[in-house]
Amino acid sequence: MEVVTSFFETPYPSRYKGIWSWLLTKDHKRIGIMYLFSILFWFLLAVLLGGLLRLELMFPGKTILNAEMYNSVFTLHGVIMIFLFIIPAIPAVFGNFFLPIQIGTDDVFFPKLNLLSWYLYMAGGVIAIASLFSDGFPDTGWTFYVPFSISTHTNVSTAVFAAFVLGMASMLTGLNFITTIHRMRDKQMGWMQIPLFTWTLYATSWVQLLATPVVSITLLLVIIERYVSVGLFDPSRGGDPILYQHLFWMYSHPAVYIMILPGMGVISEIIPVFSRKSIFGYKAIVASSMAIAIAGSLVWAHHMYTSGMSDTAIFVFSLLTFVVAIPSAIKVFSWVSTLYKGSIQMAPPLFFALCFIYLFSVGGLTGLVLGAAGTDIHVHDTHFVVAHFHFTMFGGTGFAFFAALHYWWPKMFGRMYDFKKAYISAILVTGGFMFHYVPMFILGLQGMPRRYFDYLPQYATGNFFAGFGAAFMIIGIFLMMINLVLSLRKPMDASSDPWGGTTLEWQTASPPPLHNFMTEPVVLDYPYDFTGVVEKYSSDDKGE
């Protein structure tokens, strides 16, 4: 096998050495890896904060946190998870690393802007840390609702400024990806030859670009109100606090599609490979990705049914919310149809992908309970909501992130991890997940409010169970990370195509060379045509 010099050994620009060859790199692959480590840091920190919250809630009364601290911890948990993990994770790590490769080119369109995005991401994180000190991290919840976010003495301005900076990173990444996809595809790659992961990055990028500025101005207004008291959201001065919620959710609802679309793209890549069968309904999945992006920007006020807005708005937004569910369901149908009568190859990426399909479906269905105004009235601001969004954001995007890690790890680092430990960690995480969040659905239906540091005695059992589940989940997550990191001790001997994929990243070495390809990649007419793969594997005795 020809030994290809990997991008790890080839700094770009070439004059930099050591740490500077990373901090000043223009190579999208190095930027993706830098994001990987920073994002994992924030993820694991926020997981521990979540563990702290659940430990507090395991027993009635104060366990380890007082009420004010509890408020700050759940705010911090939310802010880190949403702005520093879930929104950037898949696009910034895997999008950066694989988008150029999947379209057969050598980098993104604006490499220096790409590096700037990473610095903005890091700056946002540092600013968030800064807001932990002196007056303390905000106690408003990650939603920063007025009037409390304007009146509270905690460091709201600093924290929302961190979110503002992170938003800039997100917008610039979206801008970069859109331009890259439009201008740098391999000559043979038309729009209908683009892999589904890239398609979801494209849809996501538009949402990142257009929706993020709304939260930017909203957060700026919070800062302005805190310092200058204009009164734009203050009823005693003519303002309307519900308008804050409109502006906030105008971004934050599309944001959940920023979170899930790339995750769905990952699943759309994994399922066909491990079914050795082309994806069912490629065009339907493309159309549904774009439809989710567009329709997702029409439904924001379904977060506001109990806010005091008009009944007409409640009706309209509830109706539209049901429409948005349709394209997501199309995707689940396509994935399952792909598996049907496929030649299933079990491997950790597929295992995580299957867990995703189940967990995300539960999340999506419970979303309908929330989207229907009539039922929402009873479960709004209860633990039902908390369980719903953890099923979709964690069971969905989180698990897609794990799946992507296990699918693309050998390509990125040139080593394969231990399968058995990967399966064990997956089972611990999934099992722990169920024990952790299903009780919350029940607690919510029974009426336990969210964001409460204490609760009535009848909720004690559910909370105790949930804490138990959390422990297994957290152990599983750490085992998963350790397993992946341990693989780095092995020599770089992974093949270019350990799984049998058809997208372009599997035509190059593991890890890829600096400019991604040594020879011009071959673009298939149909990106999920497995005839070549099937031939190759039937002529060998075993795979790999």
Partner: protein, 95 residues
Amino acid sequence: MENTHALHYFEYKTLFIILLTLMGLTGITVAVSYLDLGALNVWIALVIASIKGSFVLLFFMHMKHEGKVLVFSFLGTVFFLGIMISFTFWDVAFR
């Protein structure tokens, strides 16, 4: 992918005529604001502003000669802005 920038520009004269048009429209919108047409005033002002904006967009910003990607993405952005404002009124107008 071009190696040199495709040369396409509007002549100074054309640009100047556009400027005069814009000034004229400014005059009209100021004049109309002195008439009391009730609720219609703000809509007329917005229509005139949109016409002025279109001239800036099409000529000064060169949109007249741009391709589908820019035209559609611009319209899409404006459409999203329209949704932002109008859908808020589902709430505000029916309280």
